[in-house]
Amino acid sequence: MIIRLLLHFLLLAGLSPLLIGVITRTKAIIAGRQGAPLWQPYRDLRRLFGKDMVLSSTTTWVFRAGPVVGIAVPLIAALLIPFGAVGAPLSFSGDLVLFVYLFGLARFFTVLAALDTGSSFEGMGAAREATFSCLAEPTLFVAFIVLARISGSFTLDTMFKTLLANNLQTVYGVSLVLTAICLFIILLAENSRIPFDDPNTHLELTMIHEVMVLDHSGPDFGLILYGAAMKLMVMGTLVVNFIMPPSTGDLFVDAAFYTAALLALAVGIGLVESGMARLRLLKVPQLLIGTSLLSFFALVLLLR
């Protein structure tokens, strides 16, 4: 139990920046550049944590609480899901709701932290964040419902263990594939990757997430980046779990498998990002609604 807990924490804390590194590296290579080293994100974090910070005179404690919650939530959420064959340390029936609402909590505070500055840029970003997640959340739920329906349980742990592997041949196969795709799109949307948003650009009026953190600096900003990385990893885990082989029995072998798969996913994200351009902002809702329709279709296939 305790080992599982520690393992989860370690994997999450250690691995998540690496994913960012991998993504950026992949994009660089595709773009024909050499790109930054894989551990660049770790450096950035260290540098940020070493910095002083500038606080807006408008802000209050909420402004500083935002990053904290932003990093605490992925930590807790990660405990509810299995990392590949590595079972979730905490799980109880219905924890999927907790999982979704934890990210709601994070959103609540990041949005408020953004609004706390009183700047119209942050306000705009906050509005978009809140609106888009309204559209993204149902999709997540439908995906979970599909998995729950298949696995016959409401604990993420059992829902996400070795699903595609044994069910691909069964009637559930199609719905599962569709669900996996939906989850991947949600992953992109929730972590503000292309085609929804471009994490590299700043100060563009079409941005969603990045614009909310304009006024954060130093350790706060570091926390935000770290939290974002963890969030990416958590969401990524959901996708990865579809393709994970059943448990080998040895905890660390499973962990290794999982890590490999996660890195592969990162490369995939990098490919997608370099493959397509960012959508126009007004197209984004359509894409999200399309996704939820897709997941819905998966559900219909399941229930018929």
Partner: protein, 669 residues
């Protein structure tokens, strides 16, 4: 307050007596406002404390205690019954009455010599007492009597500032709505008494023999009657006007508990009726979720902070009705587990909503008290100026957004769980129905976050948007105290859900008893240690991070918000409430809930100063009810020609009446 009254209905009688006596005393205090003010507040607070101590034990005591005072005027007894279900509703009633009384001490200000104070407290105490009696009533007469008193006293509380036109209109709308509702309730109780042979609730057990159509007649009449009070879509129309009009502690009580008495009535009726057909359950559930979506969408477009909160009440009532409908449906279709989960979720949400909505209205009241403004566009920057109030508001917002680890999450979690459960063992269409509900519920949840961040972000954060907001002051200790009571309970329920769930088991059994054998606590959902463990880890993580950051805390330099190079970003550049919800309006909402705007910008060589105005009227009111009633009134008006002032025509009426009656008299067998 002493143990003598514990576990005993006498304690409640004492509380009622204190309330009524206090009200009369306030009236007798006459124009001595200060005296009346203190008298009213103290009696109300004392009575609610007594009531709390008396009602709390009864929650778990199975069975019921009766008390009956003979009442020759009515020919019926003034009979009260205390059972777990009643106690379940008594707790929030007395709690909020207490908080409201405490709050009003500093919130209300009266001229030294005026009747206003006496009247206000008279009606306040009457409201408290009548709400309690509604819940305790043991026969139709007492129930309807208390019900009408409740409506009237709340009407007079709403019209506290009756000099304002809007307040009068709001009060009038409320009075009309509540009376139409009451008419349906009269019908329900009399019809029930016709079947049962007496108005005593004890004898209503005879209703279980009703055929299904009669059952549905009663059920839907009650749904309309109680729905009009509870603010069930589309009968909610009075709510968004009445709450802003009323003083804030009154809004807190009305929105927190008064409308819940309607839910009590419905639940009580369901304990008598035979099982409701499944489709009726579906209808209720759909009404509920529609109301939830509608309410939250409307809340997202409001610019009046209290009006927005009122719409959020519509949303929460919708969720509760969703739970109830789900319960009925699952019971009818035999999904035991899901039914229980839904019912528990609905009951717990009743408690939760009274807690955080009370907190939010009180907090909004403090904001209004400090700034004198309700318009979001005139607020802002208050979290810096009134940190405690602001933080409490933020707390309540987090709770109502169902964020863990606060109470709102627990009840919504139960609703989800019941939906999933039902969806799991249902097949085909039914399963699909549940999934659909779950998805809509998720959408609602997302929108709630949008609405609440909008309210807080615009009202409390950024730079003040008006001079009034700029020199706002922190509210007094009394107000803070009154607000922190519900806040504390929100946290308690959220962190230790077992407590309230055990409390609910009593009323739960009362409600389930008629329809299946009383099974024990396993009815309650499995909140394992995992729940608290995960929360504990979360908290531990938070603590750790904060520790790290305090350790690494450097001297943070404070500068103005970076505004793209603008040196002095003014509040007018800040993101407004309208623009915050604009994006959601364009992408998510249907057009019927978006505000109707009118702009006077015309193409001209030298364009005149342009204006842009928006109004956010309730579509249900403006599109359905007002036209309907207008048409009816027109029809009625057409009959005025009968009274045209011509004497000979009047004689003609007499003539005709005579002829007809003569004919009837002669023809009759």
């Amino acid at each position: 307050m002493t143990p003598i009254f514990a576990t005993d209905i006498n304690g409640l009688l004492l509380a009622l007596a204190v309330l009524l006596a206090g009200g009369l005393l306030c009236l007798l205090a006459g124009p001595r406002a200060r005296l009346a003010h203190l008298l009213g507040a103290s009696t109300a607070a004392l009575a609610s404390l007594i009531g709390l101590t008396a009602a709390l034990p009864a929650l778990s005591v199975a069975g019921s205690q009766q008390v009956a005072l003979s009442w020759p005027a009515a020919g019926l007894n003034l009979a009260l019954t205390l059972d777990p279900l009643a106690a379940f509703f008594l707790l929030p009633i007395f709690l909020l009455t207490f908080c409201g009384a405490l709050y009003a001490i500093d919130y209300l200000h009266f001229p030294a010599r005026s009747w206003r104070a006496g009247l206000h407290w008279f009606f306040y105490n009457t409201l408290g007492a009548s709400m309690a009696v509604v819940v305790l009533a043991a026969n139709g007469l007492v129930f309807m009597l208390a019900w009408e008193l409740m409506s009237l006293s709340s009407f007079f509380l709403v019209t506290h500032d009756y000099q304002e036109e809007k307040v009068r209109q709001a009060g009038w709308l409320y009075l009309v709505a509540t009376h139409i509702g009451a008419a349906f309730l009269f019908f329900v109780f009399f019809e029930a008494s016709r079947v049962a042979g007496s108005l005593d609730f004890a004898s209503f057990a005879a209703l279980r023999a009703l055929p299904v159509d009669a059952t549905l007649l009663l059920f839907f009449a009650a749904l309309i009657g109680f729905g009009a009070k509870a603010g069930l879509f589309p009968l909610h129309v009075w709510l968004p006007d009445a709450h802003p009009a009323a003083p804030s502690h009154v809004s807190a009580i009305m929105s927190g508990v008064m409308i819940k008495t309607a839910l009590y009535g419905l639940l009580r009726l369901l304990t008598w009726l035979p099982p409701i057909p499944a489709w009726a359950g579906i209808a209720v559930a759909l009404l509920g979720i529609t109301g939830a979506l509608f309410g939250i969408a409307m809340a997202a477009t409001q610019t009046d902070i209290k009006r927005s909160l009122a719409y959020s009440t519509v949303e929460n009532i919708g969720l509760i009705f969703l739970g109830l409908g789900l319960w009925l449906f699952c019971q009818a279709t035999g999904h035991e587990q899901a039914a229980v989960l839904a019912l528990v979720g609905a009951l717990l949400h009743i408690w939760n909503h009274s807690l955080f909505k009370g907190l939010l209205f009180l907090g909004a009241g403090s904001v209004v008290h400090a700034t004198g403004k309700r318009e979001l566009s005139a607020l802002g920057g208050l979290l810096r100026r009134m940190p405690l109030t602001g933080s409490l508001l933020l707390f309540g917002a987090a709770a109502i957004s169902a964020l863990p680890p606060l109470n709102g999450f627990i009840s919504e979690w139960l609703l989800y769980l019941s939906l999933f459960n039902a969806g799991q063992d249902a097949a085909g269409g039914a399963a699909f129905f549940f999934m659909l509900l779950a998805i809509l519920l998720a959408l609602t949840g997302g929108l709630v976050v949008l609405v609440m961040t909008r309210l807080l972000g615009v009202a409390l954060q950024g730079e003040p948007r008006s001079a009034a907001a700029a020199e706002a002051h922190e509210s007094s200790a009394v107000l803070i105290a009154a607000m922190s009571i519900p806040a504390a309970l929100c946290l308690l329920v959220g962190v230790m859900p077992q407590l309230p769930l055990q409390g609910i088991s009593g009323p739960l059994l009362t409600l389930l008893a008629p329809n299946h054998a009383p099974t024990g606590s396993p009815l309650l959902p499995p909140f394992g240690p995992a729940w608290s463990l995960s929360l504990l880890t979360g908290l531990a993580a938070l603590v750790a991070i904060v520790a790290i950051r305090t350790w690494r805390r450097r001297n943070a330099s404070r500068l103005a918000t970076w505004g793209c190079g603008y040196l002095k970003p003014s509040a007018r550049m800040a993101y407004t409430a309208g623009s915050y919800s604009q994006f959601a309006q364009d992408t998510v909402f249907c057009s019927c809930v978006t505000p109707t705007g009118a702009s006077t910008r015309g193409p001209a060589l030298f364009p005149p100063p342009a204006q842009f105005g928006q109004e956010r009227l309730d579509p249900a009111l403006t599109r359905w009810f007002l036209p309907l009633f207008g048409k009816l009134a027109e029809r009625a008006y057409a009959f005025r020609r009968l009274q045209a002032g011509q004497l000979s025509i009047y004689v003609l009426y007499i003539f005709i009446a005579t002829i007809l009656l003569l004919g009837w008299g002669i023809m009759a067998p």
